[in-house]
């Protein structure tokens, strides 16, 4: 199944979803981007350049690791994880970002902007900008700036300007709006490095393409490691880039069940979560450049969302995944904050791996289902990122008293003038 043949004649549409909903002033820019992207996609040398950059700079291929202890404890399926956490900068976000960086170079632009929620994409973009020598500005909801300061610190140190966005809910979606505002002003020299497989076409296709490196590697690796294709693949879904990234390796393998894991937050009910498809609180809309499911009210205004994982705390979702969901090719499930915390603890204790809170959503759902599966069945989870940069969030989620004391002492030290 080629997701991108657009056989219905509507380029950028996946069933009813997708499209390019942008202010007219960006029309030329986006057309140019489409053209450059199309050329790059058809040029095998481009993909080769991308792969070898990812090898030498980011450590690809990332391995597939078995989790024997967790599997044994659950007593069901054999669990494996795809280790996107081992990428340079600690998550799959770098795949997309380096790919776009190469495109920016081809387009001859000198400046990049990016939104970021969890900070991972901003961190990756700042890294890419430093490496490619681009000027860069990262927009980040003020709430996220506060909860993800370590990422801000690194972005700034890599030479990016980080702009806290104080509009709206001051989170990811607002940072996207702010990027669009920058872009309509500076499109001549500026590329907007969108961080997930959302937004106007060609971004969903483009981001998916770069992230497909995950799935292509993973298919070969799991065949070697497990001796068979996985029965189920779990991936967390924020905007949907890591999920579509790994899923693409297995599109033709209809016997492989694909499960997207959304942020269930406090559970169902508007405002409690960021589950667009697994719960029933979202509906189709058009915003942020695309037509897809949004968590919105009857007026089409967006709802508050909540998740312990900033990177999943988003109103919309990858239109390609929505289409695959409608076609029953991808199942969607939501995982609550609490289930996520438990899954995180289990994987730290039993396997010595610290998934990002986002990725831990995939772990949690897999853990729920593994027990009901047979020992000869195989599960593959996309570990989209590592959790050690989320220390402030995780320490809070675990309500760690030592940590709080440490922070208080550190603060007292700063007040006292020592450093």
């Amino acid at each position: 199944m080629d997701l991108f043949d657009f056989e219905n004649g509507r380029e950028g549409y996946y069933g009813e979803y997708g499209g390019t909903f942008l202010p007219e002033i960006l029309h030329t820019t986006i057309e140019q981007l489409k053209t450059e992207f199309r050329k790059a996609k058809q040029d095998p040398a481009f993909w080769q350049e991308f792969v070898s950059l990812m090898q030498s700079y980011s450590g690809r291929p990332t391995p597939v690791s078995p989790l024997p202890n967790l599997s044994a404890k659950l007593g069901g399926a054999q669990i494996y994880i795809k280790r996107e956490d081992l990428n340079h900068t600690g998550s799959h976000k770098i795949n997309n970002v380096m790919g776009q960086g190469l495109l920016v170079k081809r387009m001859g632009k000198s400046r990049v902007i990016a939104e970021t929620g969890a900070g991972q994409h901003g961190y990756a973009t700042a890294t890419m900008a430093a490496r490619f020598g681009f000027e860069s500005k990262i927009y980040m909801g003020a709430v996220d700036v506060a909860r993800q300061r370590p990422n801000v610190f690194w972005m700034e140190n890599m030479g990016s300007e980080v702009v806290p966005v104080t509009d709206g809910q001051q989170t990811l979606k607002d940072a996207i709006n702010e990027c669009l505002r920058d872009w309509v002003t500076n499109m001549d020299n500026t590329h907007y490095v969108l961080g997930t497989a959302c937004g106007p076409h060609p971004f969903p296709e483009m981001v998916s393409w770069f992230q497909s490196i995950i799935g292509h590697e993973a298919r070969e690796q799991i065949l070697t490691a497990a001796g068979k294709l996985p029965d189920r693949i779990y991936a967390c879904v924020g905007g949907g880039s890591n999920a579509i990234g790994i899923f693409q390796g297995f599109m033709e393998d209809t016997e492989v069940e694909l499960i997207g894991c959304e942020a269930g937050g406090f559970g169902p009910g508007q405002g409690n979560h960021a589950a667009r498809l697994a719960y029933k609180d979202a509906s189709v809309g058009v915003a942020q450049g695309m037509k897809t499911y949004f968590l919105q009210n009857d007026d089409g205004n967006m709802l508050e969302t909540h998740s312990v994982a900033a990177g999943l705390d988003y109103i919309g979702v990858n239109p390609i995944l929505v289409n695959l969901w409608e076609k029953n090719r991808v199942r969607f499930e939501a995982v609550t904050d609490q289930e996520v915390t438990e899954a995180l603890k289990l994987s730290m204790r039993l396997e010595g791996v610290i998934p990002a809170l986002e990725s831990a959503h995939g772990f949690a759902q897999a853990i729920k289902e593994a027990t009901q599966m047979q020992p000869n069945e195989v599960i593959l989870i996309n570990m989209s990122g590592r959790g050690d940069k989320d220390i402030f969030t995780i320490a809070d989620a675990l309500d760690d008293q030592h940590w709080k004391q440490f922070i208080s002492e550190k603060a007292a030290g700063y007040r006292g003038g020592e450093s």
């Binding site: 669009l180 309509v184 037509k291 007026d299 089409g300």
Partner: protein, 261 residues
């Protein structure tokens, strides 16, 4: 009478004496309140504006500048719904002599349902709609339906468009065309210069519809410039700024300097 004819009439009545351009002003529905909106509209009526955009607040106003972003957000927080905007529009179109245009983002239309939305818009006395995030390529169905209701889709032409694209926009446009004076979002002021004049000339080559010029119009000289090169001056942020500074009094002052001869 169609919007285009209305504007032709207005243009004729205006002649060349008082001012060079027709005026289109803007209020964000329910910001700071519907009462404030009403008073502002009264001032605008005093100064004889020909058109008013009523912006339906949206949570993701990505084409707006900071002041309108805040206005959208505040209105939503204050509980302004689509139904309230239509109710207000009906009152406004019944009461005032200027023509009323819906401005907003496409999701408001989409979520309400195109047909339902257009029907309500028509019933509320609206003449047209401006949806800056709905490109013409995606607008086919909506535009056909609008035509059935006699509602005009107002399209934007921008300095970055190719001639080919301008022609495509012209073909789909009705009522008048909103030409965007510069890159960027609403808000900050625009340098009305030779480049802009040439851009307007480029637009003119593709259409006979009246041309509105928007984004950053705030001074008498802007109006003069637009009067000279185009047809309608769009006054957005500057008027809201005046209102925020001192309500009807300041707004009147603002329009006085803007329209003095």
């Amino acid at each position: 009478m169609s919007l285009q004819h209305y504007l032709a009439d207005c243009h004729e009545q205006l002649g060349d004496k008082n001012r060079r351009a027709m005026l289109m002003t803007h209020v964000v529905c329910g910001y700071p309140s519907f009462e404030d909106n009403w008073q502002a509209l009264e001032v605008m009526q005093e100064f004889g504006v020909e058109l008013v955009e009523l912006q339906f607040p949206f949570s993701e106003p990505s084409a707006d500048g900071p002041l309108f972003v805040k206005a959208n957000q505040s209105a939503i927080d204050a509980g302004v719904h689509v139904a309230d905007c239509f109710a207000f529009m009906r009152k406004v179109s019944n009461h005032f002599s200027f023509k009323v245009i819906m401005m907003g983002y496409y999701n408001t239309v989409f979520k309400t349902g195109s047909d339902s939305f257009l029907k309500q818009l028509k019933e509320a006395g609206g003449e047209a709609f401006i949806l800056p995030d709905l490109p013409v390529d995606e607008a086919g169905e909506l535009h056909s339906a609008a035509a059935q209701y006699g509602l005009d889709p107002i399209l934007l032409m921008t300095p970055t468009n190719t001639d080919e694209r301008l022609q495509q926009l012209a073909n789909a446009a009705r009522g008048f065309i909103y030409t965007v004076a510069r890159k960027g979002v609403t808000g900050s002021s625009t340098d009305m210069n030779q480049d802009l004049a040439e851009f307007i000339k480029r637009c003119r080559q593709h259409t006979d519809l009246p041309l509105a010029v928007g984004f950053g119009v705030s001074k008498k000289s802007d109006i003069d410039f637009i009067g000279e090169h185009a047809d309608i001056a769009v006054i957005g942020t500057a008027a809201l700024q005046a209102w925020e500074q001192g309500g009807a009094v300041k707004l009147r002052e603002f329009f006085t300097q803007l329209t003095q001869s």
